[in-house]
Structures are given as structure tokens and as C-alpha cells.
Symmetry: C2
Subunit: 494 residues, 2 copies
């Protein structure tokens, strides 16, 4: 399931052309997000090497994005006219306009490599491959995301068997992922999420102009499962974007972005510079022809530090991109997303160790049904001492040095009684007696006051298990009127 | 304060041209949202009559939107060429192309009327009036909203003294509110909210393609104070949009919207129809000239039921607009926004009666400081019986037949103990003894299970007092570790 790839709902967008490096992808994945490599413009061999590099840098999942080759019918005379129009610009930086050739971006070889190296997530841009292609990749264990810009494309991707939709709003920097180059059916991100959610069940990754944790909160509220941020990561030290490009994102001379075919022959959003202003209106729909034609000019301009002849891809809101190491940016986005800081505490999303057996369960006055339910789940329990615990579950994981307590109020008599100070002290004493070195408690639905109490008892917050209870015990707990969406994990040495 | 005008964070957008009727505005305001009249294209006298009509239909606040006249320099030859181009279209419905005249939309008289009739909220579109104009209206008690489409406009509005910014994303239906007709600096709604919030403190109304409660949740998460929905209300029976327009919004032959100057000479988003397809690219930036030129044609087309020559204004996402009475739509949006339905219960946002004296306060083991704090607030209390109430406050409002209980856990010994069944029964008995006819309880931070318990005790949810505790007692309660963002109100007869 796509959800299983996510610790944080933050995905670093694949940015072809150099920005997305193995270092960036790994840093994001290590920090709790999901990093992405961008295979576009690279050979299959280069892509493979980047996948291997990334794997050396992180043990966590990351994605690989691939461009789907098109077969457009182009207007040769328009391309020739455009060549004539832009020749002087190229000359001005000592470059020439290249041949407007067609290529398939090493498509077949990339698919072969992806099947061979078995990645966790493959996303596609500029179209949706045949179902058979998706199925072959899926059979290697990969999940498939298809980038879509309107409802019609989303339906095609769903029909072809995609696992996830990457929904790209008009705000997004870089290339529009439209299946057809000539499509100009642009949608604001929020509206597009709504239209797609209204008709399709697939999980949604929201992309386009997202810079701040509150933007992520917004797309999650709209129903997306994760947010994909590109421009927000461009200025990270791990990003391979050129220094000129990085500087331009925050340069007051660039006040606006626009969507243009000027650089590649396909619509893409970038900072408005001289090249776009002079040539944007004349650029033909001819991809990748125009990309190849302007390649040398862009490279030469970058080397000369001239932003006016470069493709300065940028999403709307680029001024709010932040120059920070990727791991710090991910943490900051999460803090902004959560909207609450607990003084001096680090909050980290943890994944539950689902395979660890739970050996001891203390229940406060459990009903017969609950007891049977737990027995059926293979959990041993001791109920007789439970009265002292006032609605607290204690679960011990064998074979670790950690004793773990989960705290839940169980029925209407015990609703929200929480885990008082005396109880915490009792638990600490008990864990110490039993030779544990660390005591962890998990608490759902805690108020700030409860958390403050745990702090007073020497605990610090080490993480949040999102949806733990909903996922694992929803039938049991919801029936008993318990609402536990997140489990906050606290830890102390004993 | 703008916030005081809001019971629900839902504003019905002013839609000039007939859709926004007094009936629609009043229905929305009566339902808990904020209705809006659209004075654009009307005379000051017509506006005044509509304000009076609306006041007869609702006691709640509503807004009035006014177009700010521009002084554009137009290209006469382009206007003449456009006239020639569209003459046949007008003829085809038996109409002629009108004179491309300039008018100021009765600007001065409208300001005079607004000062005279003293409305709660005036919003402006197509520009920001001089500070002096804003101040004069503000001196009558009106709050001022200015509609903005980019950060620069937002700064101008803030500088002129606006109280609120209505932030219009590119998704919005109808006219772009750009201060300058020629501006094409379009922004996706989410991104624009972020850019503006990053620099300005003013409250934000978010507008553009919002159709569903989850869209509202998203813009609130992004930091907006309210959502403004236009197209979502177009199909309500109270809306004055023509039947042809209403039908077109949900007609599969209209698959796309676009932004065009075809009908008015100013950019506006509407359903792509024949007139736009044939003339949109040729339409000059000349407002209100082109508006007057196409007026008869649009009217005649509407009467003949021909949507191809009408301005079918529509926001992106229009297919998800719903044909429902405005009050039902507001309730449905609120349900979707909250994301939870309590079976068979109506949830309504209430405003606290702040002037009602609170006469009895029962505290469970209050600290001396807390007692003194309450005394200082003029609240009498009886603490000696409080032990029975385990952290429950009971507040009686004199002179009503309602006894009101507010339930909060007060310190770490009582955290979240909630109000158990025996306690509820005790309270019901006590209220009955004292001759009350209704018992209301307010409960912060309630779990679904607690709410279920109250239901079992015969209570039904009558409302939510948002931010009640945060607003009124934050110092007291937060210091004591209590997190009460919303107060859910329950009521039962006794």
C-alpha cells in the first residue's frame, strides 16, 4: 500500500535536469519524508547508478520518476521559425542552437532497469504507460504513481491500474505533466483534488506551489494522502540546482512566474526572465525538440552566471522556499503542519513494530467480549491487577529492554481518566523491578496538560504513531467509544 | 472585528448580474453563513432597495459588494474591430451590439447610500478605493473587505486600511478582481493565501473553486478565516441565475471553463461556449465597454434558452455545485467540513450569550488562585458540593429556564475524567428540583464515546461554541493544562 511508504506525508518532488540528486532523495527519506529521483533526460545506466547511490545513503524507500515518451506531430515550419528567432540569444552566450531531435528518453532501457533493481515507487510524467507496463513493474513490488493535471487524465491513469495519482495543480514549478503537450486544461490544486476525489478512490499526492507546513495541512484536509514539494527543496544544499537558479528563486528582480514553452517546447512554469519575455509567445508545441535546441544555450548561460537565458523552473510561492538542509526542512514542515511545538521535544513519526509479540496486557474491568477479542489476537493479559491502572493497558514486548505501556480509557466509567501521576510512578517502579532499562508509554488523545504531566514524570516525547488505533483496533475501541487517532509515544530511562 | 460577523466560516460570494438576490443572501445568513449582495451593474437606488429587502428577511449580518470604477485607456480600434466581429452573433438572437460606453456604476451614489444605511460589511472588487473612502465607511460601523488577486494588491489594500482581504484564486468563477484589467498575474488559491499570510496580518477570506466542506477545511487549514463560495450557491433555488445558466453548470456538453474577456472586456472565468471559442482571443481589454456591447445579446440569448451566447460564469469545479436550498447547502458544507456526523443530530455553531450573568459555579477541588480568579470575574461559586461533580463546572444563567453545565477537568488529578452517567443523572435531578425546564451542558474535548454517553442520557447536540474556552478563559485553563478548543453544547428537556 502506498500509505506504508509514508512516515511523514511529505514527498520531495522529482525535478529532472539536475536538482534531484541521490543526496537530496536520501536526506529526505532519512528525515522521514519520501525522496525522489528524476530519471528524465538521463540514460537508463545513469538512472541505475543514481538508484544504487541512493540506496547506499538510505535504507528507507524512495521513488523514481520517469518521463513517458510522446509521439507528437510537430509543425516543422514553426520549429524552424523559432530556431531563427532564438539563434542570437544562444550566440550571446557563445552557444549554438542544437538540433530539434526526437528521442524516447531511453524509455525501454529504463523500464528494464526498474524491473531489475526493484524500486518501491515509480512515478510517470507526460502520460500514462500501457496497463501491461504498469503490471510488469507492479509484479516486482513497485507501486505506480501517475502524474495527472485534470480529471480525464486521472481516469485514464486509474483505468490503466495506477496505485496512486500525483495530482499537479497549475501552481507547480517545472513541466506541466499533461498527457498531451497541446492541452491547456489547467486547474488550481485544491479544485483538482476535489474533482478527482469525487470520482476516484485512489490515494492522492498533491503537488503545486506547496512551501509551508500549513500548505501541507491544507491539502491533507482536502483529502490528499501526501504533499509533493519541489521548489521548496530546490535551495537545499543537497539539491543539484545550479547556484544561479537557487539564487534567482529568492531574488527580487524575478517577481513573477509564468507557464511557457520557450525552453523545451512543452509548457513549464518558471521565473519570467528575458528569454521567456522575448520568445515565450512564439515557442511551438514541439517536445523534446525545443529542449534539445536550447540545451547548449541554457548550459552556457548557467556557466556564465546569466539567469536570463536559463530555465529557472519555479512553482508559485517560490519566494517562500527556504535554504536549509533537507532534513531540517522536513522537520520544520512537520512542525508547521502539526501547528504545535512541545517545548524542547522532538516529535518524530514512528512506525509500529507490528511483528513484536505483545505479552502482557492489563485491562481495567474489561468486558468479556474484549477479553475474548484480545485472546483471539494472541495477546495474553492479566486483568486482576488492572483496577489499579484505571483504564491503562500495559503491553510488554518480549526480547527487548523496553517496557511499553499503552494508555487508553476503556468504557464510559473510565472515559478519559488518563494516567495519573501515581499511576506513572507505579508503572516506573514496576518496570524497574522487572529489570527493564527503558519505559515507553503510548497515549492516545492526550491533552497538553497530560503531556505536561508525563514530562514532570521524566518522560520525553519520542514520536507519534499516526492512526495506530484506528488501524489496529478500530472495531474494538470505536465500539467502546474511544477515539484514538494518534498515539503519542513517550520514553524515559529507568 | 470581522470574526464577530461569522458564525460559520462560510460566505456566499457576491455575484453581480442577477445571481445574488436578497433571498439568497438572507437564506445563507439565516443558516449561519454570511450572505452577500452584489451591487455591481445596479443603481444605488436598486442596491438600497435590495439591502432593505434583505433586512426584512434576516436579522443577521450580510455583506454588500461594490465595483470600483476604473479609468482605463482603451484601444478604440480594437474595440471597433471586436464590434464588427461579434455583430453577427448578436443578430443571430435578434439583438444588436450596444454602445461601448464608460460608466462608473453609480459609484458616488452607492457610497452615499452605504453610509446612510450602515451595513456590516462592504467588499470591493476591481480595485481598492482611497483610504478616505474606507475610513468614512468604517466610521459608520462597516468592516471593509477588498478583493485581491496577488500579493501586491493585498499590500495596497492593507495600506489603504482594509479590515479583511478577500483572496481570489485563479479557480474562481466570474470576473477576476484584478485592480488592473491588463494584469494577468494569476495565482492558485492555496499559494496566494500563503504568500499573503507570510507578509500581512489581516484576516483572509479565501475564494476560488470551493465547492465542498473539505475545500473549506483546506483553506482554513491554510490559514484563511472563512471561505467564500459563489458557484457552489448558483444552483440554489434562491439564486437569481437564469435557468439556462443553472442547467449549464451541470451539463456534460460544457466540459471546461476558461478565463476570457469575450463578454465584458475584463477577464472572467466561465464555461467555454461558442461565443468564447470564436471571439475570446480577439476580445480587447476594454471594461465596461464590451460589457455594454454584449449586454443585449446575452439577454436575448438567455430568453431564447441559448447558452452559447451567454456569459456562463462558473468557477473550476462547477460540476460539483449542488442544487439545494441555500440553508441545506450551508448545513451540508458544515457537516462535510467537520468530517463527522453524529447520527440524527443537528450541529449548529452558536455564539455565547456573553452578557448573561453566571451565578453558580461548582468546582472540583479548585485551587485558591482559581477561586479568586472566578470571584474577580464576578462569578459566584459553591465549592463545597463540588466533590460530587468530579471536575465539572455548573453554571446557571439567571432569568432563563435553562440550567447550563459546563464540564471541564481541572487539574492533573482530574484530567479528562469527564462527566459520567451518574453525574449526568445527578445534574438532571438537580436541575429538575430547581424548576428548570431545560438542561444544557457544554463539553470541551469530548470523545465520540462521551458524546454517545450524553445521547444515552437523553441529550442532543445543539451546537458548537468554537474557541469558547480559548477565547474566554485561556489563561486559567491553559495554565491548568486544559485544552478546550471547541465547546460542544448539548441540551435536553427535563
Amino acid at each position: 500500500m502506498f500509505k506504508d511508504l509514508l512516515r511523514y506525508p511529505i514527498i520531495q518532488a522529482p525535478m529532472a535536469g539536475g536538482a534531484s540528486t541521490p543526496k537530496l532523495a536520501a536526506a529526505v527519506s532519512n528525515a522521514g519524508g519520501l525522496g525522489f529521483l528524476a530519471a528524465g533526460y538521463k540514460t537508463a545506466a545513469e538512472m541505475k547508478e543514481e538508484i544504487n547511490q541512493t540506496r547506499r545513503l538510505t535504507e528507507y524507500p524512495f521513488g523514481v520518476n520517469v518521463f513517458v515518451p510522446g509521439n507528437e506531430v510537430i509543425d516543422e515550419s514553426a520549429v524552424a521559425a523559432y530556431r531563427a528567432k532564438i539563434e542570437n540569444a544562444a550566440k550571446s552566450v557563445g552557444a549554438t542552437i542544437g538540433n530539434g531531435v526526437v528521442d524516447d528518453d531511453d524509455w525501454v532501457n529504463k523500464l528494464t532497469v526498474l524491473k531489475e533493481v526493484k524500486v518501491d515507487l515509480v512515478s510517470f510524467t507526460f502520460g500514462c504507460p500501457e496497463s501491461s507496463v504498469l503490471r510488469e513493474l507492479q509484479s516486482t513490488g513497485a507501486l505506480i504513481a501517475v502524474t495527472v493535471t485534470n480529471l480525464e487524465e486521472a481516469k485514464k491513469a486509474a483505468g490503466a491500474g495506477a496505485d496512486v495519482l500525483c495530482v499537479q495543480g497549475i501552481e507547480a514549478g517545472g513541466h506541466r505533466a499533461s498527457f498531451e503537450n497541446r492541452s491547456e486544461d489547467d486547474h488550481g490544486l485544491l479544485e483538482l483534488i476535489r474533482m478527482i476525489k469525487n470520482e476516484l478512490e485512489l490515494p492522492i499526492i498533491a503537488a503545486g506551489g506547496l512551501m509551508h507546513g500549513k500548505d501541507i495541512a491544507a491539502v491533507l484536509a482536502a483529502g490528499a494522502m501526501a504533499a509533493q514539494l519541489g521548489t521548496a527543496f530546490l535551495r537545499c544544499p543537497e539539491s543539484g540546482a545550479s547556484p544561479v537558479h537557487k539564487a534567482a528563486l529568492n531574488d527580487s528582480r524575478f517577481v513573477q512566474t509564468t507557464v511557457t514553452r520557450a525552453f523545451s517546447g512543452r509548457r513549464a512554469r518558471g521565473l519570467v526572465n528575458e528569454f521567456i519575455t522575448e520568445n515565450g509567445h512564439a515557442a511551438p508545441a514541439a517536445y523534446p525538440h525545443v529542449h534539445h535546441m536550447t540545451k547548449q544555450m541554457r548550459k552556457a548561460a548557467g556557466e556564465k552566471g546569466n539567469p536570463e537565458l536559463m530555465a529557472l523552473w519555479a512553482g508559485q510561492g517560490h519566494k517562500l522556499s527556504r535554504e536549509k538542509p533537507a532534513s531540517e526542512l522536513v522537520e520544520l514542515l512537520m512542525e508547521e503542519l502539526k501547528g504545535e511545538r512541545f517545548a524542547g521535544m522532538e516529535i518524530r513519526e514512528l512506525s509500529m513494530n507490528e511483528s513484536a509479540p505483545m505479552h502482557l496486557l492489563l485491562l481495567a474491568d474489561p468486558s468479556r467480549d474484549m477479553v475474548e477479542d484480545y485472546l483471539a489476537k494472541g495477546i495474553c493479559f492479566i486483568a486482576e491487577r488492572a483496577k489499579q491502572f484505571l483504564g491503562v493497558y500495559v503491553l510488554l514486548q518480549k526480547g527487548t529492554d523496553t517496557m511499553e505501556i499503552k494508555n487508553i480509557a476503556v468504557d464510559e466509567n473510565h472515559h478519559g481518566k488518563g494516567i495519573g501521576r501515581h499511576l506513572m510512578e507505579h508503572a516506573i517502579g514496576q518496570a524497574r523491578e522487572q529489570g527493564y532499562k527503558k519505559l515507553e508509554i503510548g497515549t492516545g488523545n492526550s491533552s497538553i496538560g497530560q503531556l505536561a504531566l508525563y514530562q514532570k514524570c521524566g518522560f520525553r516525547i519520542v514520536g507519534v504513531d499516526r492512526d495506530f488505533f484506528t488501524k489496529h483496533y478500530s472495531e474494538v475501541f470505536y465500539e467502546n467509544g474511544i477515539q484514538c487517532r494518534d498515539m503519542i509515544r513517550l520514553s524515559r530511562s529507568i
